[in-house]
Amino acid sequence: MDQNTFASALLDATRPLPDGVTSARGEADAARFAVYRNNVAVSLSKALSQRFPVLRRLVGDDFFNGMARAFIATTLPDSPVMFAYGDSFPDFVAGFAPAAALPYLADTARLEAYWTRAYHAADIVPLDVAALARLAPERLGSATLIAHPAAALVRSKFSIGTIWQAHQGDEVRVQTVLEPESIVITRPDIEVAVHVIAEADAVFAAALLRGDSIGDAAAEAFDTDPAFDFGRAIVGLVALGMFAGVADQQGDMR
């Protein structure tokens, strides 16, 4: 028996049973093979359901399972570490035609994917405000900040942070306001934190995360919003635990 043939028959119920499969009666029994088909489909759907619980609540179990099975048909896990399965699920959701009427789903899924990454990220004490303050003021503009391994930013046209928050309890409050929202995900210690931040702060954070200097990042944020409050933004982002350290021309420091 060739295991690739066996796997193909598992993943596609329209294929015949693989040659050589039998039972104690000497029969190739489809109901028996279906146990494996079901195990694969259910366990992979369940893995996605565990990583994307808000997405599941937004669309309901049946729709979610259908979407999950369509994704599974295109993308199997590339490792046995199941909590990492689904990194590309948000992109799949973005292009999933039956979900087109709910355009906020993909970014909500992005938030959830980053949440799991943050949950399992390395244990690193974030840069604190005092360490930032020790940096000489004349060097602040040219310094860059090193992203904390848990840190992520999602900038959305939709209020996904509010939607996500509304689905954390048992009772779901209906969310009708859909306006742009930017979300920062961090894990300063053991708990994952999700915060909605202002648009200019998000421009600033995005520039810092891609390695722009603090000065360049601030200039971009001022361009977006002349009322951008640099001091409040940098202290706020550092306090959320977005960064692991500062790098300036004198070398890395914490």
Partner: protein, 295 residues
């Protein structure tokens, strides 16, 4: 009291439980009398965060069994070297008293299927699986236990009996065996074999751990009973009888209650562990009585 890291290189011959995230707070707060905890290795392969912090707390209090579910030892393709390295890191970090994996495959060329899939038992697969077990033991630097599978189909190609197959792997590689008594019941019913005869033929001297779990039941296309290894309920009465019979042959062996789906309150798991531990206690008394008669 349990002394996790000081208890040496083997699990105590007591009942253990699968560690579930929803129970960890209660376990750390109440320190229940449990022989050991078992975790699925793959759930602890992140870099940091809550899983490692809580597992460290458990390992400080209890012996640990590390149970892999993703190594795909029965695959035709080579073992995943990155996954072996992750396992090695976990084993080095937590020094578990036992490490076990399955006689099954999960990975093919297109990816990981997240199920324990069956393989035919032939001279060719025997050589192949033995080479993989050798490679695993080398890579992680310790002896492993290999678990008998629950299966729903048979292969026309198979030429070797499952027990002979497992025994030969153990003979060639020096690995031990993990005897899953629920899997024995599931496979025996599914393939019209006598589960007690299976246990009577099993090489009990190689058994380092026993697994118990609940099964589901359905029927196949011919209307025959088809048991499903479900891990979602209490251990069935027939499996528990088979367990008593097994312990009668093996003597006291570390015994895990597996309950991975529809996980109940911790007290329910504790009651299952207590039920298994009573069988182990009785076996220990019988063994000690025999020993003192001989002395």
């Amino acid at each position: 009291m349990n002394t996790g890291t000081q208890s040496g290189q083997s699990l105590p011959a007591r009942a253990g439980l699968g560690l579930k995230p929803e129970h960890i707070g209660e376990i750390i707060a109440t320190e229940p009398e449990i022989g050991f905890f078992e975790v699925h290795a793959e759930n602890y392969m992140g870099d940091g965060g809550a899983p490692h912090r809580t597992l460290s707390e458990i390992v400080a209090r209890y012996p640990l069994s590390l149970h892999g579910v993703g190594l795909s030892i029965g695959a035709e393709r080579p073992l995943d070297k990155a996954h072996l390295a992750r396992l090695r890191r976990l084993i080095d970090r937590y020094q578990p008293q036992s490490f076990s994996e399955h006689l099954a495959w999960s990975t093919h060329d297109a990816g990981f299927l997240n199920d324990l899939l069956p393989l035919p038992y032939t001279n060719r697969t025997l050589a192949h699986v033995s080479a993989h077990v050798d490679e695993v033991q080398q890579a992680v630097g310790r002896r492993m236990l290999l678990e008998n599978p629950s299966t729903y189909i048979l292969f026309e190609d198979s030429t070797i009996d499952e027990i002979d197959f497992l025994d030969a792997i153990a003979e060639r590689t020096g690995c031990g065996l993990l005897l899953d008594v629920n899997n024995v019941m599931v496979s025996a019913i599914n393939h019209r074999l006598d589960p007690f005869a299976y246990i009577d033929r099993f090489p009990v001297e190689r058994v380092g751990e026993i697994h118990l779990a609940g099964y589901d039941e359905t029927v196949d296309g011919a209307g025959d009973r088809l048991l499903i290894d479900a891990h979602n309920s209490t251990v069935a009465d027939d499996v528990f009888s088979l367990y008593r019979h097994t312990i009668g042959r093996t003597g006291p062996v570390p015994t895990l209650i597996e309950w991975d789906n529809d996980v109940p309150a911790f007290a329910v798991l504790l009651a299952e562990a207590t039920r298994a531990e009573a069988v182990l206690d009785e076996a220990a008394l019988r063994r000690d009585a025999r020993f003192s008669r001989r002395a």
